[in-house]
């Protein structure tokens, strides 16, 4: 029998098949990185819990009604002005702060640059922002408000960090994260941790969600 020459397999359509698969995966791929505003809920209070009495001037009240309008400290306000108002309230520093955990008396806010008005908050760690919304409020508006309030805190933290460490708080946190991952930078971790903690306690984010009205 005459040995026939082995015919080559025609690979011309391989590209077509690969393209088909490629397009399928291109279409089904979603490259979404889940991200969002993170929040920690308060624990459920025991039945006999008596809420502490907080001075009126230490509460910054934000009301959102069912038509998505804002009422801030009994005045109507646009969302774009909310950040400024919140900064002014948090950074007021009119009195002394909370007592330390070891029982040391509360100190005055020596890094605040606010008006030190008598009628506004005493200290950033006493300043509470209370957001009250209606059951019918749109979620989008609610998130916008939360975002503006967080922006106020970010701005204050960045300012303080820039003042003390000549670097913004965002960069400071990033450096801390990197140092944690990197074994070669072990000696810097502790130093950065202290700095991050300091800024965080200087301007703690106290945003409380009040029970919505119906």
């Amino acid at each position: 029998m005459a040995r026939r020459e082995n015919p080559e397999i025609n690979a011309g359509s391989m590209a077509d098949i690969a393209f088909l698969l490629l397009i399928f995966f291109l279409v089904t791929t979603t490259m979404n990185v889940d991200s969002g505003i993170s929040k920690k809920l308060s624990e459920k209070p025991p039945a006999d819990y008596v809420p502490p009495i907080i001075k009126e001037k230490n509460i910054f009240e934000v009301n959102i009604n069912r038509n998505n309008e804002l009422l801030v400290e009994d005045d109507r306000m646009d969302i774009k002005d909310l950040k400024e108002a919140a900064i002014k309230f948090i950074d007021n520093g009119g009195g002394t702060g909370n007592a330390g955990e070891d029982g040391s008396p509360g100190k005055e806010c020596d890094y605040c640059q606010g008006d030190k008005s008598e009628s506004s908050s005493d200290h950033p760690n006493k300043a509470i922002i209370s957001v009250q919304s209606d059951r019918g409020t749109e979620y989008g508006t609610y998130i916008q408000v939360q975002n503006e309030l967080l922006k106020a805190y970010t701005e204050l933290r960045n300012r303080l960090s820039q003042q003390k460490y000549q670097i913004t708080f965002d960069e400071l946190e990033k450096a801390y994260d990197e140092a944690k991952k990197n074994a070669g930078m072990k000696d810097r971790v502790e130093d950065l941790r202290v700095k991050v903690e300091f800024i965080k306690t200087a301007y703690p984010q106290i945003i409380s969600d009040a029970e919505p009205t119906s």
């Binding site: 391989m14 995966f25 969002g36 929040k39 308060s42 459920k44 749109e138 979620y139 939360q146 970010t154």
Partner: protein
């Protein structure tokens, strides 16, 4: 003159032998990066609100997602306040069971790090979100994340 014409005639074809290789490379890239959605959406894809102060969610295995939005199935009612757990439309009362079920899948030590991601439509009502939040608090699932798009900072 005839010399020039001769040259024009013999245009060589572009060599496409390496084309499959390139396509395969791309194909493998997308195959590896693709994550298939495990649950079918019973609600219309929520239009997430946008925000700037956002944090990335880490540890995907420790995240359980609750969707809120408009039901695809008209008979379930209209309005943007339907809650989807796993792949069913449910009510807020079923949230604790959903969380407890999710907890059985992770080790005991990791339970405090579990995060609940709420993917709600812009037009949902805060009331629905509050109901979910109260139920989450009942079962001590305290870390939540309101899923948002990254908006432009202004």
């Amino acid at each position: 003159m005839s010399k020039f014409r001769k040259k024009k005639k013999g245009m060589p074809a572009v060599n496409t032998a390496a084309l499959p290789d390139i396509v395969f490379m791309l194909l493998f890239f997308f195959m590896v990066t693709t994550t298939m959605r495990e649950t079918d959406l019973r609600i219309e894809n929520p239009r997430l609100p946008s925000a700037t102060e956002i944090k990335k969610l880490e540890h995907k295995s420790l995240v359980c997602t609750i969707y809120v939005g408009k039901a695809k199935d008209e008979s379930k009612g209209s309005g943007y306040n339907k809650i989807q757990l796993n792949d069913k439309i449910a009510s807020a009362d079923q949230v604790p069971a959903f969380i407890i079920n999710a907890r059985t899948k992770v080790s005991e030590a990791e339970i405090p790090f579990m995060t609940t991601s709420i993917k709600a439509d812009k037009e949902s009502n805060v009331g629905t979100i509050t109901d979910i939040r109260l139920k989450l608090r009942d079962v001590n699932a305290l870390k939540i994340s309101y899923s948002t798009q990254k908006g432009s900072s202004n």
